[in-house]
């Protein structure tokens, strides 16, 4: 290795050293300890005893583990694609060259920066079965609105609906992607006699597919870790209809003091997220187009 290369390598290590040290000190340690705790009967205080894989096998017979998994997966399967589609739609609208567009962009982005609890209070009003604006609007359509958060069937859809409040963040990422598409590609479609749909299907979608992929992966990860919204809004009720995985994990750790079991739940969650992310990366070869990448023969 030449002198310059050694210097570059040294600088590289220097630059990443803080991040690596931060990870080792604040994350690797707890991650390792939680893996250990998941094999014990730790109750937070006191000396934990080794139980092997008992915490993991206990999950198989724990109905609330399956309930929390079902709720979280349902939420992810519906909320993520819905959020992706809606934020793309809004981004397309915000990408138009009209007067005052920056005001519209700010308006659509603003909700995503409002804090969780304030949003929760606002949505409690919106979803109130008696005087909420949602049921009022449904009433104009002669639809008798449900009891939303108080109803077992509607509580989870309510939270899915509420999740759309934060589409402003992914809208901005889409917008950046849309603005990076060269206009000559659209002109080529026009020359070929293509219309709006052709432009969207054959230029816009392939060109922003890396952005869709990014939003999809991060969306899946975030939804599997959903906690604050449900903690404030429903506390897992009614009758466990909104018992998210993260909430069940928290309860085991800090309400029941079953830190060993909670650690095992955390590791299973990590494995689920890891598996889903790997699966998405595998399938991405089929539908994500990276400009400048070399296609395999």
């Amino acid at each position: 290795m030449g002198r310059l290369a050694r210097r570059e390598a040294l600088e590289c290590y220097l630059f990443i050293s803080l991040a690596v040290a931060g990870f080792l000190i604040f994350q690797a340690g707890p991650i390792g300890v939680s893996a250990f705790l998941s094999l014990t009967n730790s109750e937070l205080v006191g000396t934990p005893a080794w139980v092997g894989l008992r915490n993991y096998s206990a999950m198989l017979h724990d109905p609330l583990f399956w309930q929390s998994l079902k709720v979280t997966v349902t939420y992810a399967v519906v909320a993520v694609p819905l959020g992706l589609a809606l934020s793309l739609l809004v981004a397309l609208l915000m990408n138009q060259n009209v007067r005052g567009i920056s005001v519209f962009r700010t308006v659509y982005y603003l909700p995503s920066v409002i804090s969780g609890v304030a949003v929760a209070v606002l949505w409690r009003w919106i979803l109130n079965p008696e005087f909420g604006i949602l049921n009022l609007l449904l009433g104009y359509l002669r639809i008798d609105g449900p009891n939303w958060l108080l109803d077992r069937q509607w509580a989870l859809p309510s939270l899915i609906l509420m999740s759309l409040w934060g589409i402003g963040g992914s809208m901005m990422i889409y917008l950046a992607g849309l603005q990076g598409i060269p206009t000559h590609l659209y002109e080529a479609v026009e020359i070929d006699g293509g219309g709006m749909w052709d432009k969207f299907a054959h230029v816009t979608i392939p060109m922003i597919s890396p952005v869709v992929f990014f939003n999809l992966v991060t969306g899946i990860i975030w939804t599997f870790q959903e906690f604050t919204r449900v903690y404030v809004m429903t506390q897992g009720g009614p009758s466990n209809a909104t018992l998210f995985y993260g909430l069940y994990l928290y309860r085991n750790a800090f309400r029941y003091f079953q830190m060993g079991y909670a650690s095992a739940l955390a590791w299973v969650l990590l494995l689920i997220i890891l598996a889903m992310t790997l699966m998405l990366f595998r399938t991405s070869q089929l539908w994500v187009y990276y400009e400048g990448s070399v296609e395999k023969a």
Binding site: G29, L150, P238, S239
Partner: protein, 465 residues
Amino acid sequence: MRSTRVTRRKLLRLGALALGSTALAACAALPTGPAKPTGEPAKTAAETTGLGSQPGPTTAPGGVPVKITFMMWAWSPENEKFERDRIELFNNSQTKVVVEPLIMPYEDMWTKLDVLVASGQAPDSVWYDYAAYKLIAKGQFLDLKPYVDNAAAMLDDSIYDQGFWKPAKMLGGDSPYALPIGGEGMNLFYNRDLFDASSEPYPTDDLTWDEYRNVAIRLTKEEGGKVVQFGTSLAWLQSWWAWVMLLWSRGVGIVDSHFSPTQCTLDTPEAIEALQFLQDLIYKDKVAPDPVQASVLSEQGGDFASGKVATMVDGGWDVVSFRSIDRFQWDIALLPKGPKGRISPFWIGGPMISKQSRNPDAAWEWTKWTAEEDGQAMIAKSGQQVTWLRKAREIAPEGAVPEHYSKRFETLNDLAPADVWSERWNEILDKVWNPEFDRFWKGEITAAELVKAIAPETTKMLQGA
């Protein structure tokens, strides 16, 4: 001669050790062991012989005051100010101990406390709440008996209400783990204007639960097929720790013992009848709001504060928050009676001392002060709780109080601790009770069906299954 040279290997070992220790501390999952106290509590505890503030003999090397941390939650900015004022008053009243507050929102506080205890950094003093029970059961707080035994006045019923001790001895023995400096029971709150408008006499001490229902029926008003005024609201009575009063008034309870429960006793005819009585107020008599109607009232300032509810069983603590009501006149009465009398659920509040504290004697000085004249006067003036010190109950709270404010004290003549001290209680509530009670309060199942669904499973879990 031994070499003291630091070799590269030694340095790496030290580095690895430091990194490992930091990581373990950061994860806050394994205890590093409690800090050794500076002395035996019984030997150094101050003796309280009177009611005046008497800072004890805590020593501070070199005359430097001993610093202790006190962890407490606050519901509101006013509440936080009260805590800070209380601490300031103590800090200014003596020179040996300085209390440093650690005040945070309720939920955050208990999660943080768990982590601090697990990492061996527990605060010296922590305000008691049921949420601390698990840590108490795991030996993380000091038995205050050696201190209390040296404070004769605290054991004198003419000075301190001895009824307050029971919930402070939550492990069932004779050892208190919190000093019960304030307590609270429940009362019947009523809207005088609505009673006057219907020429209904105000509730008396002889009111029974059946008569309470009749009053509620008479005071419920409908307009156009819609209830515009409710005779009552269940509100807290939908929480087990409140509706348990109806079971007690019929001579039954929810568990065989609140201190070491092994059996759920909800499956008695009296208990089922009491629960059905409450559900009927909503769906049969239609005198109390259902969950949807209650959600509307809650957005109008709360059930009672909305002015559309004539009576409501509520904690004495709301005497303070209801002072802001200026749209109508209200008052409080004793709870209704049942065939076996009247018993109010009861809770206490007060400081505990962490087993990890390096300065337990200093923490006791602070704890003791909160029970003495100055500390108790602050509580009385704020109206936040009923004071443990009987004499302080003569001090009127600042601001307006209802005409029969003394009923807040009277309700404590017949009390029982409401909490169930079992390490699995929260788990039982989350996994067994809450899902079924959600259905019960929505009128989907009857009291008999509810009890059938939860009683056997509760007993099984109490017995460790």
